[in-house]
Symmetry: C2
Subunit: 114 residues, 2 copies
DNA sequence: AAATCATTTCGTTATTTTGCGAAATAATGG
DNA sequence: CCATTATTTCGCAAAATAACGAAATGATTT
């Protein structure tokens, strides 16, 4: 009986995030925004990253599409910042994925030892 | 002055992980292994997932390549389990990325834990 | 209105990914 | 040794991704 499972919306959601995060340039941007706790401009990024303007623009578009960043237009620049709400959502999904299974450690003991 | 930055090995490493995690089927497998705290067989997975055997095999191969899972041959089956060491490493990289602009991790421990 | 600046969209090319079924492997049972 | 079972590799097609330069857009300044 091939009891096919429907892949949950949560997993689909997470796959959208991981896909957006699956390129070094995009990860670099996210890390910069998250750790510097700041926003930045496309022009700054193109100066420090090894890709052309149009390519960078594509990467920013993908991050925007996944909801991880947002761009405020601030003529003549566009200021890109983390989308805090979705970033927190992503954090929570990753925390859930990496959380140890419920039936786990009770008092520091490593299961299977002793 | 276009001071081009070299993308750090850590980011490259993480991009390998996110790429491996960027497909719903692969995420499903990882989630199952992590949460059920168990191993599983290709045959079980192909019964519950909406892909063919050869496609599933490809996905398993990619997860193996990224180091997230490992397969122990247990004739006539192959038992797939999380690679705990790399899974922990992944957790730590993600924690670092999502940590609120704190100090960076150099060794295994995440600041603020334990 | 024309020139300038930052950025995006378009059109193209090369590469990678996803998926499948058929054939190949590897191990076991008759 | 042949058949069976579990899984992987191969060969292929379709789609998606990544990258670039050129052209287009939008806003400002001259």
């Amino acid at each position: 009986m091939p009891k096919k499972v429907k892949i949950s919306p949560e997993i689909i959601e997470m796959a959208t995030l991981t896909k957006a995060m699956s390129h070094p340039v995009r990860l670099y941007i996210l890390q910069k925004l998250a750790h510097m706790n700041t926003c930045c401009y496309s022009g700054d990024l193109v100066d420090e990253l090894p890709v052309g303007r149009s390519t960078l623009s594509q990467h920013l578009k993908e991050l925007k599409y996944a909801g991880l960043i947002q761009g405020e237009t601030e003529p003549p620049y566009i200021k890109y910042c983390l989308n805090r709400e979705n970033w927190d959502r992503a954090r929570s999904l990753f925390n859930e994925l990496f959380s140890e299974s419920e039936i786990m450690v009770t008092e520091g003991r490593i299961p299977g030892t002793q």
